[in-house]
């Protein structure tokens, strides 16, 4: 029993500092409404180095993670598997759409950047 609790505690600690990604637009929107947050929808691809940098480096930065967790539900859509919901357009990947409770685009960030700059840009949206 003790071992099981330890494993659970370790697992929770492991994921506490990580972002949880949603993959379904409606589910993300519902979750955002419930938690009184906005949806940050990332449109990306696995073959895009800029997208991978955001996922593997920027989204592991403590300050970025903490800020995003506080304000957003993160939804990731893949350019090869998912079509963008109606009303959303992009010119390149990665594109970050910021979506309000009514499923409308409030803001957009095009392209990736270093953690400090991305955080600055996120804060500027608020």
């Amino acid at each position: 029993m003790k071992s099981l609790l330890l494993i659970i505690a370790c697992t929770l600690a492991l994921f506490a500092g990580e972002l949880q990604f949603e993959h379904n637009f409606n589910k993300a929107l519902q979750k955002a409404k419930t938690q009184n947050k906005e949806v940050m929808m990332m449109y990306s691809a696995t073959w895009c180095p800029e997208c991978n940098y955001m996922k593997e480096v920027v989204f592991k930065n403590k300050e970025v993670v903490s800020y995003i967790k506080k304000h957003f539900i993160v939804l990731t859509l893949d350019i090869q598997k998912d079509t963008l919901p109606e009303g959303f357009n992009y010119i390149g990947i990665p594109t970050f759409f910021f979506i309000d409770k009514n499923a409308k685009e409030k803001n957009k960030i095009i392209g990736g950047s270093k953690a400090d700059i991305f955080l600055q840009n996120l804060k500027a949206l608020k």
Binding site: P49, E50, N52, Y53, E56, V57, G92, G111, G112, S113, K114
Partner: protein, 161 residues
């Protein structure tokens, strides 16, 4: 009189170092291989997929330009400005890059193989997955640059830390 004519010729040459027809061709076709565009102001243009192979691009201003997958191979880009440009996937193979300013440029997947890189400024640029092969980077600066999965082949001298 001869002096006046000579002065006018010298001045006009300084003002328009590039070939006007070449600039027109670039703007109309989007391509201009082997062209003379030296000193041209190409600020903010969309040159995505443009072929600028083997061109004279010395002192060209590419500030804020979008040039995804543009081909700058074999071109002379000495003293060119790429500040804040978006040149993802651009190819600089065998290009001459002397005193080029790439500050804050987005050069993801750029290919610099066999380019002469001398005193270039890559500060705060994004060079993720870019390829450096057979280059000497000792006197170029990379402060604050994103070097995520950047490929530096074994024959590169002065690999930034």
């Amino acid at each position: 009189m001869k002096n006046i004519i000579l002065s006018v010729l010298i001045c006009s040459n300084l003002l328009f170092a590039f070939d006007i027809n070449d600039l027109k061709k670039l703007k109309e076709d989007g391509d201009c291989p082997m062209c003379d565009l030296s000193y041209a102001d190409l600020k903010g243009l969309d040159l995505s997929m443009s072929n600028l192979n083997d061109a004279n691009l010395t002192h060209v201003n590419f500030t804020n330009t979008i040039a995804h997958k543009a081909n700058f191979s074999n071109s002379d880009l000495s003293h060119a400005l790429f500040v804040n440009s978006n040149i993802k996937g651009a190819t600089f193979v065998n290009a001459i890059l002397r005193d080029v300013n790439f500050t804050e440029a987005r050069i993801w997947k750029g290919n610099f193989s066999h380019a002469i890189i001398d005193n270039c400024n890559f500060s705060e640029s994004a060079l993720g997955s870019a390829i450096f092969d057979d280059n000497n980077l000792t006197n170029s600066t990379f402060g604050g640059a994103i070097l995520y999965k950047t490929i530096f082949k074994e024959n590169v001298i002065g690999i930034p830390k």
